[in-house]
C-alpha cells in the first residue's frame, strides 16, 4: 500500500539571464528561484492496483515517483510505501520496489545485459535457483531470446527496454514504479510492454504506478488515473468516470455518401469537425438514440462510429482550466477492475 499525505517537493533553481555581463556576475552572486514541483498531493493506493499518472511536462509526475521510491526526500508531507518511509532507503523496502526510468538506463553500457543481471543478483542476494527461475520466466514473457548476450550498446531502443525491464524485475518486487517506460518505442513494442506489465501485475499481485505521455499506455493499462498539473492533484479516479464527468457527450463520426450542408447537420448536433464527406458531431447521451435514428433515416451514411471524447482533449481542457481556475477538482472513486 502506498500513501501520500500533503506531499510537497520544492527545488531551488539557479536563474541566469543571458548575456556576457550576467555570466560574469554569476561568478560572485547567483539568484535562486523556488520551483514547487509537487505542491500538496494526497492519495492512497492499495496493493495490486494499476495507477496511471497523467499530466503535462513538468507537472510533477516524475518527481512524485522519485519521492515514492526514495530518491528524493520530500520538503514536507508524509509518504509511506508498504509501511516504510522511502527516503530512509531501508534494504527491506528496496528489495520490494523497483523503478524503471525510460530515459535512463541501468544496464552496463559496454557489456551484455546478462552481466548486469549477475550484478543485480549479487546485489539483491537472490538465491541461485530462484534467480534462474525468474530469469527464465522473464525471458519468455519478454521474448528476450539471445538479446541478453549482446552488449547493451548494440541493442535497439526497444530491445534495450525489454532487457531493462528484466533487470528491474529480477528480484521480484511487489511495487513497480514505471517512469515513461515506453518512450521512444514503436507501437508494437509499446503493446508488448503493456501486455507484459499487465500480466506481471496479475501474476504477482504487484502494485504498478505508471507515468506516460502516451494516452494509450494509460488507457490500456490503468483503470485508475491520477492527474497532476503544476504540482497539484486535479483528478484521482476511474478513467471512464473522468471522461463522463468532464465531457459526458458522445462523439458521432460518420462518412456521407454525398455532401450535406452545415445547416442540416447542425440540426442533429454540434459539428466538431467536417472534412468534405467526413463529419464528427457532438451529441448528448440523451439525444443520441434520436440523432442516430434521424441520421440513418434521412441521410445516406457509409460508416458510423460512436465514441467517447478523446482523452487528450479532456486533459488539455483540464490543464488549461486548472491554470485559469487554480482550484483542484478531486473526484475519488474506489473501484479498480
Amino acid at each position: 500500500m502506498i500513501t501520500a499525505t500533503d506531499l510537497c517537493k520544492h527545488f531551488k533553481v539557479h536563474k541566469r539571464p543571458p548575456g556576457f555581463a550576467a555570466a560574469l556576475k554569476s561568478i560572485v552572486s547567483r539568484k535562486y528561484e523556488i520551483v514547487k514541483a509537487v505542491d500538496g498531493v494526497t492519495f492512497k493506493i492499495e496493493r495490486g492496483e494499476r495507477v496511471g499518472f497523467l499530466g503535462p511536462n513538468g507537472a510533477g509526475k516524475t518527481t512524485t515517483l522519485k519521492v515514492l521510491s526514495g530518491l528524493l526526500h520530500p520538503t514536507s508531507g508524509e509518504v509511506l510505501v508498504e509501511g516504510f518511509v522511502p527516503f530512509e532507503r531501508k534494504p527491506e523496502l528496496l528489495r520490494k520496489i523497483t523503478l524503471v526510468m525510460g530515459q535512463k538506463s541501468q544496464l552496463i553500457w559496454d557489456l551484455p545485459p546478462s552481466e548486469t543481471y549477475a550484478m543485480n543478483r549479487a546485489v539483491f542476494d537472490v538465491p541461485k535457483d530462484q534467480f534462474e527461475h525468474t530469469l527464465k520466466e522473464l525471458t519468455e514473457l519478454l521474448e528476450l531470446g539471445d538479446l541478453v548476450d549482446k552488449p547493451a550498446r548494440q541493442l535497439s531502443l526497444g530491445e534495450r527496454m525489454k532487457c531493462e525491464l528484466a533487470a528491474a524485475l529480477l528480484h521480484q518486487p511487489t511495487t513497480l514504479f514505471l517512469d515513461e517506460p515506453t518512450i521512444g518505442l514503436d507501437v508494437a513494442m509499446q503493446v508488448a510492454i503493456r501486455d507484459f506489465v499487465r500480466s506481471y501485475n496479475q501474476k504477482h499481485e504487484a502494485t504498478v504506478l505508471l507515468t506516460s505521455h502516451y494516452m494509450d499506455d494509460v488507457v490500456a493499462l490503468c483503470p485508475r488515473i491520477i492527474v497532476i498539473d503544476q504540482g497539484k492533484l486535479i483528478h484521482d479516479g476511474d478513467l471512464r468516470q473522468l471522461i463522463k464527468a468532464r465531457d459526458p457527450d458522445k462523439r458521432v463520426s460518420f462518412t456521407l455518401a454525398s455532401v450535406v450542408d452545415d445547416e442540416a447537420l447542425a440540426k442533429l448536433g454540434m459539428v466538431m469537425a467536417k472534412d468534405g464527406k467526413r463529419v464528427t458531431l457532438r451529441v448528448t447521451e440523451r439525444e443520441l438514440p434520436g440523432v442516430i435514428g434521424e441520421l440513418l433515416g434521412t441521410m445516406k451514411v457509409l460508416d458510423l462510429a460512436i465514441e467517447d471524447p478523446p482523452l487528450e482533449d479532456i486533459l488539455r481542457d483540464m490543464f488549461g482550466k486548472a491554470k485559469r481556475e487554480s482550484k483542484p477538482v478531486v473526484a475519488t472513486s474506489k473501484d479498480a477492475s
Partner: protein
C-alpha cells in the same frame, strides 16, 4: 558481508574481462608503466647526481619513498581513480539513481566498481625500486620493520582513499569535477619526495593539512627503522580520523543529492 565480497568479485571479473578484451593493452600498459617509472625517477637522479644527501635523506632512502609512492599510485590509478570516475559519469547521466535504489551501501559499491588491472605492473615496479634501494644501502630491513612498513602502507592507503572520496563527494554538489581530481593528483604528486626536502611551511601543510607525509614519508621511515612510536600512533589515528570524516562528507553529499536532483 559475503554479499559485498561476491559483488566485488563480480565487478573485478567484469573489469578484467574488459581489460583483456583488448590484447594490445598488455604491451601498451607495460610500456607505459616502465616509461612512467623512468620519468618519475628522473628528477631524483638529477638531484642526487649533484648532492649526496638532502636534509638527511640520501638516495636509497629517497628511493624508498619513491617506491611507496609508486605502489600507492598503482592503487590509486588501479582502483580508486577508475571507480570514482565511473561515479562522476553516473551522476552526470543520471544513472546514479539506480545505485541508490539497490539495497547496498552506495559508498562501498562505488569505491571499487571499476579496475585497471594492468596497474599491477606499477606495483611490481614499486617493489623493484625498493629492492634496489636496499641493495644500494647494503642491508635489508628487519622483520619488524617490514611489518611496520606494511602497516603504515595500509594507513597511507586509507588516507589517500579518504581524500579521493571527499573529492568524489564534492562532485555531487558541483557536477563536473575531473579537474578537482586532477588537482588532487597534482598535490598527491608531492608524495614522491621525502617531506624533509621541502621548506618548513610546506612540511607543515603536507603533514597536517593534506597529509601527504602520511602516505609515503612515514611509511618509508618505518621501513628504514627511523620512525618513533608517537608518530606511528599519530599516523594511524590520523588515517582513521580521515576515514571517518570522509564517510560523513559522503553521507552529507547523498543527503544533498536526494534533496536537489529533479
Amino acid at each position: 558481508m559475503t554479499k559485498y565480497l561476491r559483488l566485488l568479485a563480480i565487478q573485478m571479473r567484469i573489469s578484467i574481462a574488459s581489460a583483456i578484451a583488448y590484447r594490445a593493452n598488455f604491451i601498451i600498459e607495460g610500456v607505459m608503466s616502465a616509461a612512467w617509472l623512468g620519468l618519475t625517477l628522473f628528477p631524483l637522479v638529477v638531484l642526487y647526481d649533484e648532492r649526496k644527501s638532502v636534509n638527511g635523506w640520501d638516495l636509497p632512502s629517497a628511493l624508498i619513498v619513491m617506491a611507496y609512492f609508486t605502489a600507492l599510485r598503482a592503487l590509486l590509478e588501479g582502483i580508486v581513480s577508475p571507480s570514482l570516475t565511473a561515479l562522476v559519469e553516473k551522476i552526470r547521466d543520471g544513472s546514479f539513481d539506480y545505485v541508490l535504489l539497490k539495497p547496498i551501501d552506495a559508498q562501498v559499491v562505488v569505491s571499487a566498481s571499476r579496475y585497471e588491472p594492468w596497474k599491477l605492473f606499477d606495483f611490481a615496479g614499486a617493489i623493484a625500486i625498493a629492492v634496489y634501494a636496499f641493495v644500494k644501502r647494503g642491508y635489508a630491513p628487519s622483520g619488524g620493520e617490514l611489518a611496520l612498513g606494511l602497516g603504515m602502507f595500509v594507513a597511507g592507503t586509507i588516507a589517500m582513499y579518504s581524500l579521493w572520496i571527499v573529492c568524489a563527494a564534492a562532485s555531487f554538489w558541483v557536477g563536473r569535477l575531473d579537474n578537482l581530481m586532477f588537482l588532487l593528483g597534482a598535490i598527491f604528486d608531492t608524495a614522491r619526495w621525502p617531506i624533509a626536502v621541502f621548506p618548513g611551511a610546506w612540511r607543515f601543510v603536507f603533514t597536517f593539512v593534506i597529509p601527504v607525509a602520511v602516505m609515503t614519508t612515514f611509511p618509508a621511515m618505518a621501513l628504514l627503522g627511523t620512525l618513533d612510536a608517537r608518530t606511528i600512533a599519530a599516523t594511524v589515528g590520523g588515517a582513521l580520523l580521515m576515514l571517518v570524516l570522509s564517510r560523513l562528507v559522503w553521507r552529507a553529499a547523498i543527503r544533498n543529492y536526494t534533496s536537489a536532483s529533479s
